[in-house]
């Protein structure tokens, strides 16, 4: 057992072609499966969140009752993050950029229509030349008296706030900025090197024959070690039952030949389920396609087997930096450093023992 631990460094970090076999499953185990979430076609409908909860009987989220039905203010995301009761989480990012920096995926011009020609090149016959769509500067009306302006907050005496004539119209439209609304359905990454799994002291977390990482609720004793060990902040302990919970990649459905509930529901096929190698090929093709269309900000996340977790079983096509979606830019599984940690701890333990012995050095004084 120690041999496997110390000898096979690849089973703690780095590329690992077959984590399933590494976890003791015989050679004829099923192919490793996973998710490819293509956020460029995500419409943020949250069907994945609901379908997941319906199938897995996950309770309404929220740490306490008063939290349940409150807006977070984070665009249309009222889930907040992944957690024990949110195994799918759709992030919404409202991104504002200077006008003109849009690309095709960002509400840019339809393919094949150069922006310049649109602005100036075409004019219907008989029309005066127009170079800019912006009409003349708006007429600003008399600004509101600052002294009568209400203070923010929960004012109840609104009668005092009856508007003065011309109270509006002082703010000018901001034509200079384009809006981009990114949506992405986050999920457990089912890492090749899964920190949660490796630190679990009970074997509740285990790697299935499909190469996925699953919590066995009948085993978990709620030690919580998996929670801070996940570099993505996925798994969490549910307060009411004390168990750690996360996406199972619908382990129970896989056995019955069904695809995971979220992937099945996803209206635009943003969430794709399948054999990991096939998904990776599909993702590479999709990335090339998008790059070919000028969507240069597209990038794959979790696709690379050389990354800090040995590649993810659930990986993504993103349109911005991972941290914008609430994901770490370059996670490394904590156990990569574990051999060194054990060495340090062992040496220090020896030192500590020596110190105790040394304290008795010289006999009685």
């Amino acid at each position: 057992m120690w041999d496997a631990f110390s000898g096979a460094a690849s089973s703690l970090s780095g590329p690992l072609p077959d984590p399933t076999t590494d976890a003791g499953w015989s050679g004829d185990h099923p192919k490793r499966v996973g998710f490819f979430t293509d956020t460029s076609v995500c419409i943020g409908c949250k069907a994945c969140e609901v379908a997941c909860k319906e199938w897995n009987l996950v309770p309404d989220d929220g740490t306490d009752a008063s939290d349940l039905y409150r807006l977070t203010g984070m665009s249309y995301d009222n889930t907040g993050d992944l957690g024990a009761s949110s195994w799918r989480h759709v992030a919404f990012i409202e991104d504002v950029r200077p006008h003109g920096s849009a690309t095709a995926a960002h509400g840019g011009p339809p393919s094949g229509v150069p922006v310049d020609s649109l602005a100036t090149g075409f004019l219907p016959s008989g029309l005066p030349a127009v170079t800019d769509g912006a009409p003349s500067t708006p007429t600003l009306r008399a600004p509101r008296d600052a002294a009568t302006a209400p203070a923010p907050g929960e004012t109840v005496d609104l009668l005092a706030l009856l508007p003065d004539t011309g109270a509006h119209g002082q703010q000018t439209p901001d034509d200079e900025r384009d809006v981009r609304w990114l949506m992405s359905s986050d999920v457990c990454k089912h890492c090749t090197h899964a920190g949660c799994l490796d630190v679990c002291p009970t074997g509740a977390l285990f790697r299935t024959e499909y190469g996925t990482v699953v919590v066995q609720d009948d085993i978990c004793n709620g030690c919580g070690y998996c929670v801070p060990s996940c570099p993505y902040g996925v798994i969490d302990v549910r307060e009411d039952d004390g168990g750690a919970h996360k996406c199972t990649l619908c382990y129970d459905r896989l056995g019955a030949g069904m695809e995971p509930a979220c992937a099945k529901a996803c209206p635009t096929n943003s969430i794709q389920f399948g054999d990991l190698d096939e998904l990776q090929a599909a993702a590479d093709a999709r990335l090339a396609e998008l790059h070919g269309r000028g969507v240069t900000e597209a990038r794959l996340y979790g696709r690379d087997p050389d990354d800090g977790v040995g590649g993810d079983g659930a990986f993504f096509l993103l349109l911005d930096e991972p941290e914008v979606y609430g994901m770490p830019p370059e996670p490394i599984v904590t156990t990569r450093d574990l051999p060194e940690m054990w060495r340090n701890a062992a040496l220090t333990a020896v030192g500590l023992g020596a110190a105790v012995v040394a304290a008795f050095w010289g006999g009685r004084k």
Partner: protein, 348 residues
Amino acid sequence: MTDANAAEMPERARIDRDAVKPRGQKSRRRGRGDELQVPEAEFRSYYGRPIIKAPVWKNPDVPLYLFLGGLAATSSGLGALGGATDRPTLRRTGRLAAAAGAAGGTVFLVHDLHRPKRFLHMLRVFKPTSPLSVGTWILSPFATFAAATAASELTGLFRRAGDASGAVAAVIGPALGTYTAVLFSNTAVPTWHEAHRELPIVFAGSAAAAGGGMGLVGASVRDNVPAARLAVAGAVVELAAGEFMERKLGLLGDVYQKGRAHTLMRASKACLAAGAVGAVLGRRHRWSAALSGLALMAGSALTRFGVFDAGIASANDPAHIVVPQRERIRQRQATTGTDVAPPDRTFA
């Protein structure tokens, strides 16, 4: 654009503050006075929310477990060697503290579980990849031997067996004192993980200070020299290693510079320093020795609480994840000469 640029995106900056639900805080929204630890460096994040999950480990259970484990670890050695060197009060103190520490630690450890009835599930497996599993297999025999030794000590029965089991516990003890550092560093919590070289030393020092401190409290002036030495050495190591760790952490060390962790660590340092000075100067007087011992133990305990709190704060701070990881990417790109920075970063 960055989310930290409040001037440019006022409403989003406000979201950053309000929407976060950091663990360990009762209120849903942070007050103005309790700003996120947004570092100097600019970084982007998802509404300023934490990226990783902060530990759900209970406070004070886990810091106390760490403290008691450390206390027991060195106490077992003091007890065994105190017996071997004819220091009966040190022996007795060490043995009882080792057993009590192990027992108390076990209680806290079990209580910390969110499903405590399933404590024994820990014994299903032995996983070298899991410090908690390894720790369980350290704590269990240690507690058993320490308890047996203490029973022998208290009853006076089976003295030889008691000595033997005490010796075994003493041999295991140091592992119990340092494995907890791995327990913390083997997480994704940046402030813990990045201190994985220093944290065992800090915890070893802390264990020594605690065990030695206990010895000062319990042993007679006649018997307390090794305890005083160990305690003072422990305090010095803990102080030095702790300081070194905080500095070496750089950006990640900011959690020790503010908030509760800062307060706890300052108190810890004060206690350790006072205790060490007291132990050196006041060892010969029962009461001053005991007071010094208590101060050292308090210092040790406060370190555990401080490190624990620092970890929570670190986990809740997205900058702790994003900035170092970005820096790593930047450095790699600088060395490999490739620039894979997405084109939109420049104006985004």
